[in-house]
Symmetry: C2
Subunit: 90 residues, 2 copies
Amino acid sequence: MPLFKARVFVSLRPSVLDPAGEATRAAAGRLGVKGLEKLRIGKAVELEINASDEEQARNQLELLSEQLLANPVIENWDLEIESVNSRKIA
Amino acid sequence: MPLFKARVFVSLRPSVLDPAGEATRAAAGRLGVKGLEKLRIGKAVELEINASDEEQARNQLELLSEQLLANPVIENWDLEIESVNSRKIA
């Protein structure tokens, strides 16, 4: 079965406050980083999954993202399947 | 000054254990997600910064990533400048 590499980005919905991001933005100012307009902290989940094809991999990862990785009340998620490494022996 | 959108990915170094990722992987199995080989949780920081050019934006964001966003003892980071939205008035 081919091995799919994927990333799921989980970010706070724009209407949700991000106090950790705000604190980091304030600290960046003190560090001397200039011009920062926005800083929001989300999660990036790196995954590898065995599946018969990309559609099956996508289905499994969508289930995982919706049910486990993101809290749909306050978070959005976005799935990127990055590459396929076929392990089939021809 | 143009506004640059960027993302910084902060991930645990491969040699560092990720207990939250392992717990999530175990929960994924119980949820019925099959074939998961790897799951590691990192941070994705979304940024917007005003800078005179891309090089200046990159310098500021590299400083920020090294000094504030990542802990270099246990984490790697990777910077992607995504797009430019010029605000200059011609």
